[in-house]
Symmetry: C2
């Protein structure tokens, strides 16, 4: 079971050594396994192609390997080269070859280019790596920004038991700091062990089996979506704390920011990174300034804590409340996993740079988190509905304008941009899942800016829906948040425990102990969060994770069956009957066929005799295969009239008229073709349909699209090939 | 100009003598004109089909002309015969051949059959004619039901000038009766002159030119839609007059009734007629009873009119008010044109039966209308918001229960069913328009119950939209109503004036004078209605009529250009170059081609080597034409890998790989094919696309539908044929 998902795939494509490292555009075209390759050769041996089949009447290199056109007296005519020759048999498409043909298409393409920049070549993929100093702000904005709402989430639960309970924040914060360091060290060990990407999905899947991997992935996917929603909700409330007038437009503001983030990320990794460097460092600087000034003042009065204003208790100070407060505070750790997923985006050596960056990040997190909790305690602050606690601290520290404004602005910015971490990681996670067949294959596609457009759009849509559904309210979103993250933490570190037991590298006992500690602590937080916040929203996550796992397994099953149905097998021994075998081998209805075995019957449905149908008939006849024309008539009289026309034309092809007394055309035609084919199932039935192509979209409303409906009706028939012979009319 | 629309069509298809009479299923397949037929023969002379092309490997008659299968020991196996042999070369599809292939399709088909009845054969078309006693209620329900709201509409305007003005109703009614008789006689003359359908569209178009015909048609179309909306609004208010509790559900009730009417009509003409016979006669009987009892009582008191209750005037009694009252009362005449449009639905001799029926109808209208106006006057009734005036009259005449209930019930029924007239005429009008190319051709199609499904659905949707938009309120809809009808009346009768002047049959002067009178009176009402009610809604009609005319002309132009682009021309003299002529003759890009002139190039796009693509390659190779395989690679490395696989297979076909550095597939492929084709435009380029057909609809979500996108991108290229080679996978 364990090796089936991630493992099986790795095994099959083991001939690609650095496959795990790279987010490569070739992932959409996985190479053949050795068995299939052998089968391919054996199939090829039996092929007989007609002579001269590759004597082409055109130059497939489009004449590009000849010298350019001779100069005319108006100068050398150089056509726009859409294709350049790379080597014999290989062309390279240039920019213009990507332009759509239609006018609307080209206009959209120009708009797209303006918004998202010109396309980037696949060969640029290596240069789109991040330096550590760039990676740090990009990947840490999620983690560090959590301190803008994490301490408040902790205090907001404690204060329910009255202001007296707020003193508990110090020991709880100490436990959280231990947890942060433990999880941080845990991940630090994971990175060198999985240098090609140490995401929980891969680590848990590799060591605990596919289901555990998928559960971790589902947790992370929810985490990423919620990161966007929560960060943007908190960022917007940092703005509305400072400017109360903007409160009514909270929801549109948030959706706008999501759209801007999406656009930025569609432009590609490096641009996105550059946008986000400054705000992260500025935020860290601003908070450090608050801490320095605040502790300096506190030192002035001998670190004597100011008593908090009296707040009446609404709940008793029970164990459950403390645990809820603890798990709320734990959201400060969300984002710690960002680095391990993003290892391939670092410059080489990727794992070393990633590990260093993770160390810096955790260090900064501990300093900011512990510092803020301490300072809040010293100043006796309590959560207030109209202002975030960081805003209160800012007003206290910088009673005069600009520094407070700087703090709020950087807080809002880092929160809004923290969502960007998710935009980096979510599509990458989907890419890894899609490569294993656990997510739709479209998530493998690298867009023309080398970004995973499909994943980015999926994330933006999901986050916007949740944001709108919860009205952009941070504290309502928090209960959903912790469960997914800590599920992923727990599974990833439990996976590492198994990993060390298996590999027993130098120092494995120490490493195993550390990861076991991390797993235990994370697991505890997971259980606490799931139980303590079940009613407040965690139940949603408890339902969503198994659903996502089932969907992923269903997707994997689909692709696996499809791959096996389409996989190449060695040809059957010569005695076996060729052609269509009902039920077929490997799940496909049609059997394998060799060109010399194909027997043709060509059928041309003709509604009336005009240029369109005569073209189709000429095309059919030119193939030189047995050909039958079919006409569906609504009544006898019309059938006779049509046959009369057919004779007037010269009766060049065999005609069968079918009277359809109930006047339907597509149904009887499809049934007739099916019956015809059933009488000789080994024939390949080619249905040649005349198709009138109209230029204007609106004028298509005046036509019944019989060609499309026929195609849809014939889709289900095995062994029936449909050919459209178009005639283009300028209407 | 005049002959271009209707005339040109008639001329071209003049070889079909009784074409005008019939609503024939063959209308979708118009025969070739003599010129095209001659061209067809000359094209045929130059065809060379390959030898043995009509030696078929199958029996196109599906073995049906052989004796049935021999009995086995389990008895004779008789397969369901979807096709029976009619004569050599002709099959007849039986019922099962119309069943859709998919399971959902068959379930829908069963549901449809339950709702609308089993399909009717085209040969039944003659039997679906109406006897006069059936035609009368079907066609007259619209006209006669108008008396349920017409008199009230007249009085509702008059009473604005106070109850004193109500006395004017008698002279106005007298003028209206004259108008009714004049218009009735006018139409009576029209019917024998146009025995194949004397609708205003045909009469006006034939005599006054296409635009006049289309204007009349537009007026009638609006009339039909409004007939449904108004009748159902009035019918629902007859119900709510009696049962006030139903008032809040007016709108859903009306929409439900429209749906029921649609379903009834989709079942076909005869069934629909049978449903509607009784209510019409019952309504006439009920009103006659009211009149008899009412006048008997009035005779008892010496015909002394009761004074109406005093109502204060809100407007002065000006000419405009009187004219508005007159045009409001004129809505009692709506529906008088029903017979002339429906002549082909009568039993032979159609025109004579139709004329007789019209006479009866107008007679009954005059009696009911004049009788009601008189009785209302004698009893001094005034319009009240909570009750219709007919309901007041009923309560007065039958103070005790059942007879009043009978009157209201039949009123409601006839009103609800009056809409049915429109359901008879609207699709028929669209059929005539579509036959001339003035409406989309789908309105030519006779559904499997011999009803014009498309027209019926269009009417029901339009009427429901208007009904909902006006909240189901009768008096708001009335102002829209008169303009369209009287436009059609006026144009039809003006057309007859021209007709008589042209033909000068016996007694033409008398007939001309009568039609001229009718036209003048109708024209007056039209002008009065358009001006008097412009602000109250008539402006909508004033905009809609020209819009519909323009749309119809645009549609006609489209079909005319299309027909000329697809029309057959004699082949060019032998010296001329064959093949694609840019811009082509007659508007089509592709020229005419003979089979021996077709030069092929087959291109197979291959994304990866699997059973699907090998099938496509085998199919391509089996055609024995020059073949080129094309692979689009996202980067160089992948291109090399693919070429390596190609060699492993045996390099049986020429391969060109195209590196698409921006990773798009469809765009570069389409541009490459276009460039390839441009290098030898006389070639027919067949693109053979492997297509994986998945069984489950949801699993298609997991695929990118590249085949469809490629097809869409190639649609615009002239001379490019697209062939899908499917492989069916049970996923």
């Amino acid at each position: 079971m364990k090796v089936r998902g991630v493992g099986a795939q790795t095994e099959r494509q083991g001939d690609e050594p650095d496959r795990g490292t790279l987010v490569t555009p070739s992932a959409e075209f996985p190479p053949l396994g050795p068995e299939e390759r052998a089968a391919l050769g054996r199939i090829g041996e039996r092929w007989h192609t007609p002579r001269h089949a590759d004597e082409l009447p055109v130059d497939p290199a489009l004449g590009r390997n000849r010298p350019g056109p001779t100069p005319t007296r108006f100068g050398r005519l150089t056509p726009i080269d859409m294709f350049t020759v790379e080597e014999p048999g290989e062309l390279c498409a240039t920019g213009p070859a990507h332009e759509p043909g239609s006018r609307t298409g080209r206009a959209l393409s120009r708009l797209r280019r303006t918004l998202f920049g010109p396309p980037l070549s696949s060969s640029a993929v290596l240069y789109e790596r991040m330096r550590k100093l760039v990676a740090l702000p990009i990947l840490s904005s999620d983690l560090l920004s959590s301190v803008a709402y994490g301490p408040e989430a902790l205090l907001a639960v404690l204060v329910l038991a009255g202001s007296g309970a707020l003193g508990l924040s110090l020991p709880l914060a100490a436990v959280l700091v231990v947890l942060m360091i433990a999880v941080g060290l845990s991940y630090r060990q994971t990175i060198p062990a999985y240098p090609h990407g140490a995401g929980s999905y891969i680590v848990a899947g590799d060591n605990l089996g596919t289901t555990a991997g998928l559960a971790a992935a589902a947790g992370l996917m929810l985490d990423y979506v919620l990161t966007v929603s929560v960060s943007i909700a908190a960022g917007v409330s940092a703005i509305t704390s400072a400017m109360a007038g903007l409160t009514p437009v909270t929801v549109p503001l948030g959706v706008l920011v999501i759209a801007v983030l999406l656009a930025g990320n569609l432009r590609g990794v490096r641009t996105a990174g550059n946008i986000f460097v400054l705000p992260t460092y500025a935020f860290v600087a601003a908070v450090l300034l608050v801490l320095v000034v605040g502790y300096a003042r506190a030192a002035g009065r001998g670190f004597a804590p100011a008593p908090p204003p009296p707040v009446p208790a609404t709940e008793g100070l029970g164990l459950l409340l403390v645990l809820r407060a603890f798990s709320s505070g734990a959201v400060s750790m969300t984002g710690i996993e960002a680095v391990s997923n993003a290892i391939p985006a670092f410059r080489p050596r990727e794992w070393r740079n990633a590990r260093t960056t993770l160390g810096w990040m955790v260090g900064m997190l501990v300093v900011l988190f512990a510092g803020l909790i301490g300072l809040i305690h010293l100043n006796g602050l309590v959560p207030r509905p109209d202002q975030t606690i960081l805003s209160q601290l800012g007003r206290l520290t910088f009673p005069t304008g600009p520094w407070y404004a700087f703090l709020q602005a950087t807080t809002a910015l880092i929160l809004l941009l923290a969502a960007n971490t998710a935009f980096n990681d979510f599509p990458r996670l989907l890419f890894f899942m899609a490569r294993n067949g656990h997510a739709p294959r479209r998530f493998l596609h690298l867009g023309d800016r080398l970004s995973f457009n499909n994943g980015l759009v999926a994330l933006a849509v999901a986050a916007a829906v949740i944001f709108v559904a919860f009205g952009g309210h941070t504290q309502s979103l928090i209960p959903l948040y912790a469960v997914g993250v800590f599920l992923a933490f727990t599974l990833s570190q439990a996976g590492m425990v198994v990993h060390w037991r298996r590999h027993r590298d130098r120092g494995w006992r120490r490493r195993l102990a550390l990861n076991a500690l991390g797993a235990t602590l994370s697991g505890l937080v997971l259980v606490i969060a799931a139980i303590g916040k079940f009613k407040e929203g965690a139940w949603l996550v408890v339902i969503a994770v198994p659903t996502l796992v089932l969907l992923a397994r269903g997707t994997h099953r689909h692709y696996a069956r499809l791959d096996s149905a389409l996989a190449l097998h060695p040809p059957p021994p010569p005695g076996t009957a060729p052609g269509v075998a009902p039920g077929g081998r490997g799940g496909a209805t049609e059997g394998e066929e060799l060109p010399q075995e194909v027997r043709h019957l060509v059928v041309v449905p003709v509604a009336r005799l005009n240029r369109a149908s005569l073209r189709a008939l000429a095309y059919a006849a030119s193939l030189g295969q047995p050909t039958l024309a079919v006409h569906i008539a609504p009544e006898d009289a019309e059938a006779d009239r049509f046959r009369d026309q057919w004779r007037a034309w010269g009766d060049h092809l065999r005609l069968e008229t079918i009277v359809s007394p109930y006047r339907a055309v597509i149904g009887p035609l499809a049934h007739y073709l099916e019956a015809l084919h059933a009488s000789r199932p080994e024939l390949t039935l080619t249905v040649i349909v005349p198709e009138v192509v109209l230029r204007h979209r609106w004028s298509r409303l005046l036509h019944s699209r019989a060609e499309q409906r026929l195609r849809a009706a014939l889709r289900a028939l095995p062994g029936v090939v449909v050919t459209s012979v178009p005639i283009h009319v300028a209407e």
